[in-house]
Subunit: 246 residues, 2 copies
């Protein structure tokens, strides 16, 4: 049940074989939900099925979306796996620490775990959709982990911690009844806020992207629930009417 | 130094590509010593080199032996990775527990970590050469881990524990340590927001106190720092100017 809530998302994968190997890695550890964002490789493909070995069922059930936004729209917790620490000021965790949080979230909500392109990983824009970043501790001189190998490590940590937790009780992360805001709702809010700020001249002396990244971080920490995102959007609407933007 | 004492031994590997992928998995985690026991695949092979990606140096330095006995002759601690629990009464450990022991041994001695055939793993005779067995916790219904994926998991655990031991812990990357917003600053922000919302008619159909309590909760979760509270207040000011309240 918890594992069904964890979606593995592969962005723009170049080699069909890697998609198959990733599916196999997932299945060995009990994961089954796979989403492919705009695969660069042809899919479905024979090479994927061959390398999936006994995990072809995961490929058959895999969803394909055009954008990452669509792939994570219904998720309340989004984690990006990236070897690079870049300009996006996301909190960075080890695979084990992140797996712990993913499992907690997945007791009640849908969670996405995102893996980038073979050669270039995730873009800053893609990382901005994430609540946190996972850094697999490869050596500095050779960080080139194979895509399926990265999936295997995260899947392994998830299963390892789930097995440990089975002994304790998996306590749902929120005891309040309100479901959390989805990634899609948060994006809508950010877009709304961005447009308001833009028309208020807020970005005139500064870089809108940088400011919006900081704003995302603030609300990313707050992690609003349904009730709260409605209030936040209500505030924007009220201000908009007041200022005659409506 | 410790890692140089850890030899990865692949027994009777059938696919050259798996040898290459295993080398790549090793190198990402800082391992370099590879020994191939009677490879069923032709070796060296182009497919191995291609899949090794940037880890061809490990293939070039790899030793090839006829028997497993020869491969582990100079080792004082020998560990076999096997998905099967069979008639050999070896102590069985998790990857993490075994990695801990391997690292301890490898500070002074040569250690071998053995991976069996893609299809049939290690024979009982081969397991008898081992001091202990590692069991990767795959799900019961699909234990079919790819060879390189198994190498990746063990290599990852070795590096993870080595990093912990070094006290060179992976420090989650934190942004520059901004001091947190003070209570006074937060109150000022809430007051500002309250006045704006009031004059925008936001409270007409609802209880202002209740709404403000909810808003406090959202920003209370976010715990803004100095930089962030300035952005939040800047947003209010921009909206206020825009709506002509100023």
């Amino acid at each position: 049940m918890v594992f069904e809530n964890i979606r593995i998302v592969l962005v723009n994968t170049k080699h069909a074989g890697n998609i198959g190997s990733a599916a196999r890695a997932m299945k060995t550890m009990g994961l089954s939900s796979l989403c492919l964002v705009d695969p660069a490789a042809e899919f479905p493909a024979e090479q994927a099925t061959v390398l999936a070995s006994g995990a072809a069922d995961i490929l058959e059930m895999a969803e394909v979306t055009k954008t990452l936004k669509q792939a994570v729209e219904d998720c309340v917790f989004v984690v990006g796996v990236s070897a690079r620490i870049r300009g996006v000021s996301l909190p960075v965790y080890t695979p084990a620490d992140s797996a712990e949080q993913i499992l907690k979230e997945a007791t009640v909500n849908k969670v996405a775990l995102i893996f980038g392109r073979e050669d270039r990983g995730l873009t800053n824009e893609e990382l901005r959709l994430c609540h946190q970043q996972v850094f697999i501790p490869a050596v500095d001189t050779f960080k080139s982990l194979n895509l399926a190998a990265s999936v295997q490590i995260l899947a392994y940590e998830l299963r390892k911690i789930a097995l440990q937790k089975d002994k304790r009780q998996l306590v749902p992360v929120k005891d309040k009844q309100q479901p959390m805001a989805t990634s899609g709702q948060m994006e809508y809010f950010y877009e709304h806020l961005h447009n308001m700020l833009d028309s208020a001249g807020f970005f005139i002396h500064s870089n809108p992207e940088k400011i919006m990244a900081k704003i995302r971080k603030i609300y990313g920490k707050a992690r609003p629930d349904q009730d709260e995102i409605n209030i936040l959007r209500g505030i924007l609407t009220a201000m908009q009417i007041k200022s005659g933007q409506e």
